[in-house]
């Protein structure tokens, strides 16, 4: 009998061009390489200077998302870019893609959007693949049972030139989420609770495999939300075994295998889930039925509490450096230890990003917003994750709900998630954000981010204060 293997081990083994040895890392083959304007220019420069070419343009896909504006189109239907550096960066990507034959989803075109939204949406992301991108949230694609992780720009160059990476095998961590989520509690709350429990460094060195009843019950988009933030838990990647939910999602998408090819792919995909008796190096657990909506109070995604809870006190911190970290974070956030967050006034709400900018997120947000209005003095930005999401939302009339309530309906992109364009949270202002990072200055210099689910974000939008969304359902 062969040794039982985990999902990660199966994907890893199937992509080893050269196995690892004590002296050398494995040469790992990459099935899909996604690129965007910010982390690729220096990699193209490197391969150009060495006279190399892109080995597999047919396994490479480019989009524009990070530095693009999300302001409305002009009379010609074009999204105007005004920042000279963004223009230069986008032009550089156009030149690089044209020179090396890489397909590009051009700004404003039908398929453009955040790199981690468009991969799944277009059927590029498939079970069992190895997927990389010069972006840490590449972990999102692990929701399909792919091994997907972020790489640096040097490695982007390696993959462009060789379609391979030098990699040491990661350790595995089973993340079991048992039970069922209650009403008003979402996938975002699962992952925020996990990181609050195990810390932002808890997953370092591991690839997570999420499993258990609560995970099985999630839609593909919810699974993406969970895998997306694996990196916030420190993990190299997050994976979920593919099942009927996965296959149904992939079937019929533009770049997915069709007809007989789909059937044979399906047979392969069905063999991917971890075998009975496969062992993991580590384990984490969470009980879904005990979860309530989560919100962060500090300056890393692990500084989160149940929305009904209180901000920790210095005494509750494990050691001196954790106390220093809490003190610094609360000083930046201008929040007090031991106090609740419920009822705290907020200024901005951001709905979007590769964590929660998909159609189901917008449906959920619009569902709660319908018939209500945005509280006075609150700015609400709704930024679809892709043009496809935007079009779908408009065909369902979601944009009308957002606009009628007083929210801004914007073009697709990363937007206020990293504030590389003009979508910023002003200094000292509080934003309830559905994105994934609340780092100091992440959403603009001096911005104070409270990370939460789309439901919790809308609850804050309509009341103007941090509110438990379950009281509005």
């Amino acid at each position: 009998m062969t040794t039982p293997k985990t999902l990660f081990e199966k994907v890893w083994d199937a992509h080893q061009v050269c196995p690892e040895t004590p002296d050398t890392p494995a040469v790992l083959y990459i099935d899909l390489h996604l690129i965007h304007e910010v982390t690729s220019p220096q990699a193209f420069t490197e391969i150009r200077e060495r006279g190399l070419k892109v080995r597999r343009p047919d396994r490479t896909m480019a989009t524009m998302d990070h530095s693009t504006p999300t302001t409305p189109r002009n009379a010609q239907g074009i999204i105007p870019v005004t920042d000279p550096q963004a223009i230069a960066q986008l032009n550089q990507l156009r030149t690089n893609c044209a020179e090396f034959g890489i397909p590009l989803f051009e700004l404003g075109s039908d398929k453009q959007g955040i790199v981690h939204v468009i991969g799944p949406e277009q059927g590029l992301t498939q079970p069992g693949m190895t997927i990389v991108c010069g972006d840490s949230h590449t972990s999102t694609h692990g929701a399909f049972g792919a091994l997907a992780f972020g790489i640096g720009t040097s490695e982007v160059g390696h993959v462009l030139a060789s379609q391979c990476l030098l990699q040491r095998k990661a350790q595995t961590c089973a993340v079991r989420v048992d039970g069922r989520l209650g009403p008003g509690v979402t996938a975002k709350d699962i992952i925020l609770a996990l990181i609050a429990k195990y810390g932002v460094g808890g997953g370092t060195g591991y690839v997570f495999e999420f499993m258990g009843e609560a995970i099985r019950a999630l839609s593909m988009e919810e699974r993406m939300t969970i895998c997306n933030m694996s990196i916030e838990g420190g993990a190299r990647a997050g994976m979920i075994a593919p099942d009927e939910t996965t296959f149904e999602y992939v079937a019929g998408r533009p770049f997915a295998p069709q007809g007989a090819a789909f059937e044979s792919a399906l047979a392969r995909w069905r063999s991917l889930p971890s075998d009975e008796g496969a062992t993991f190096d580590h384990e984490m657990r969470l009980a879904a039925d005990e979860l309530v909506p989560m919100i962060t109070y500090g300056t890393n995604p692990g500084m989160g509490i149940p929305i009904t809870g209180t901000i920790p006190t210095l005494d509750e911190m494990g050691d001196a450096s954790a106390r220093v970290a809490l003190e610094k974070a609360l000083a930046y956030m201008n929040l007090e230890p031991g106090k609740p967050l419920l009822g705290h006034a907020i200024d901005v709400v951001f709905i979007g990003s590769c964590t929660n900018g998909r159609i189901s997120d917008l449906r959920q947000a619009a569902g709660l917003l319908k018939g209500r209005t945005v509280a006075e003095g609150v700015r609400v930005m709704v930024v679809p994750g892709s043009q496809q999401v935007r079009q779908q939302a408009e065909s369902e009339g979601l944009d009308v709900i957002f606009k009628a309530a007083g929210a801004e309906w914007r073009e697709a992109g990363c937007s206020a998630c990293l504030a590389m364009n003009s979508d910023v949270v002003p200094p000292g202002k509080y934003a309830v954000s559905t994105s994934n990072r609340n780092f100091v200055g992440r959403q603009g210099p001096g911005s104070r981010s409270l990370l939460a689910s789309p439901l919790t974000a809308i609850a804050a939008a309509v009341t103007g204060v941090v509110t438990d969304p379950r009281t509005l359902i």
Partner: protein, 202 residues
């Protein structure tokens, strides 16, 4: 890449945990297409006041920190984004090594690729280094790759882990892209036997 055998240099301590890559180099410095000028953006939120003048309280701006080439930082250094701009900025500023109880995975891998040495030490040695920096701002250490040790001023040696391949590449100045390109025959053979139903060009 240049070969690195030992690094001797002045240490400066930033005793904070979970220093993320948004702090190391904020997003506004990422709209560049080269690696130039990133040193100016290093820790910019901390280094500069709102009006752009240097913040005299930040450790790197103190006179006694000038010329430091080894950064000591709290656990989980470099968490967050995968931007290689973070190690580029540290290197451009003049750092050659970062010592910490732990590093975020992608940061560590990026740093090793460009020859910015991530040195993992136990918590006790970390705290010792932090107090040394506080007591004597001119503290120097020597990091030796071959023996994988950090030598403190008193002669005390602290070992650190480093995978054999990275060590080999650093000491011999091996270019990893060059190494990977030499595997061409194996890559071609792999592609022939592992067709994937994907073509981004259709």
């Amino acid at each position: 890449m240049d070969s690195i055998k030992t690094i001797t240099g002045k240490v400066v301590a930033l005793p904070l945990e979970n220093v993320d890559t948004d702090q190391i180099i904020p997003a506004k410095y990422l709209s560049t297409t080269t690696k130039d000028g990133l040193g100016e953006g290093l820790f910019s939120t901390w280094r500069y006041n709102a009006d752009g003048t240097p913040n005299p309280d930040f450790v790197l701006n103190r006179t006694e920190s000038s010329g430091a080439t080894v950064l000591v930082a709290g656990r989980n250094f470099g968490s967050g984004s995968s931007r290689e701009h973070a190690p580029w900025a540290l290197q451009a500023y003049g750092f050659r090594a970062v010592i910490s109880p732990s590093f975020a995975d992608i940061f560590k891998s990026n740093a090793l690729k460009i020859g910015l040495l991530p040195v993992i030490v136990d918590a006790e040695s970390y705290y010792q280094l932090v107090s040394l920096c506080e007591e004597e701002p001119q503290t120097q250490v020597t990091i030796d790759l071959a023996s994988q040790t950090v030598t403190l001023p008193g002669g005390q040696q602290v070992g650190f882990p480093l995978d054999g391949f990275s060590k080999h590449c650093l000491i011999n100045g091996v270019d990893q892209l060059g190494f990977i390109m030499q595997q061409d025959a194996d890559i071609t053979a792999f592609e022939a036997t592992n067709p994937v139903a994907l073509n981004t060009q259709h």
